[in-house]
Subunit: 186 residues, 2 copies
DNA sequence: CAGTATGTACAGAATATACTGCACGGACGG
DNA sequence: CCGTCCGTGCAGTATATTCTGTACATACTG
């Protein structure tokens, strides 16, 4: 069943996929990787790699690499389809879930190491009792900020899928609450 | 007064600046740009371009470009120092403010255009009453998500400088509140 | 077991990005 | 007015990243 369905994209799908690719590059994600993700996101069925390859006009091996990358990020899974030997791929369809997954992974890969480096820097400055007071102040404020911010962010991420709509409705109120609580506390 | 002070970096400063550079690249920001920013962030005084150049060992013109870029992001300002013809540069020192500024700019440059594209796509799908129901569902859910999310984020950003500490304290409570409100509403 | 389908690793080519060095222009200093 | 300082634009170079094509491994098919 090498029915390599030559899937061609509708104009809208194409528009979205291309834009998603650009978007990706601006956030440090490989264009092809982002495009593959967009394609899977729009596809109602799992898609085999060679079909992705022909649809996007990129080398088969490139698709392979991109899929591996996306699996690494935890938003693409390999699945099988009855009567087809080939691996098929699908992505998480729930947008909030995608966001959660990617954010957590990015935190793990990029923020956590930064926190570690900052902590080390501060530590080293505490040890060598030099006149680097200013540097230390700056680094500490940065460390504090990132710590609080990621903590907050993590809690938001931990909210159940779909809670977002609730947040949407509550919005204005909640933030105002935060603001006023702050005033009281300050 | 071409007192081009050959400033050399302390080990800690160097460590931070290098890491910040790497960090930058992972988020789609030029390494040198990030390094220049880190340098300014740690510096107690405004710094002239040639000093940045020699301290980081990058070409003068490269520094010039990077500074322009940082000014474009709104986190670096040109200032003058008495008795010195040269332009000096300083960055915002408040980390929360840096975060606010950069986030807003990134939203403006990257998220907003995406929202626009998504809206267009959805619109086009509504017009041409095709069988692209699935595509439309996906794109709509993405559009909804991004709309809500950026709205929420914007409100958070609008919180006064320093409110963050308050939020830090309130944290657990607030998020729990959000969660339970959701349950009630659902 | 031969033959074919499928997936992946990797070397080299192609491209994009970043950086340097210099040249030019304006402004200042005497 | 020179001579110098300073900033910026740009052409060419260097580097990093991405992509392709092929070669190889594995596993299924008959």
């Amino acid at each position: 069943m090498s029915d390599t369905t030559k899937t061609s994209l509708t104009p809208v799908a194409q528009k979205f996929i291309l834009h998603w690719g650009e978007m990706g590059t601006k956030w440090g994600i490989n264009r092809t990787v982002a495009q593959v993700h967009a394609l899977l996101f729009l596809s109602p069925h799992p898609v085999p790699a060679d079909e992705i390859s022909s649809t996007l006009s990129v080398a088969r091996s490139n698709v392979s690499t991109s899929l591996r990358e996306l699996q690494g990020w935890g938003i693409v899974r390999l699945v099988h389809v009855l009567g087809d030997r080939r691996d098929h791929f699908e992505t998480t369809k729930d947008v909030w879930e995608i966001f959660q997954t990617v954010s957590e992974e990015r935190k793990r890969r990029e923020i956590d190491p930064t926190l570690r480096v900052l902590a080390e820097c501060v530590q080293e400055l505490k040890a060598g009792a030099q006149g680097e007071t200013y540097t230390r102040e700056r680094l500490e404020s940065m460390l504090d900020f990132l710590t609080i911010m990621t903590g907050l962010f993590e809690e938001i991420l931990r909210m159940p899928v779909g809670a977002l709509k609730g947040v949407g409705k509550l919005r204005g109120k909640v933030i105002t609450l935060l603001g006023s609580e702050k005033k009281k506390a300050g």
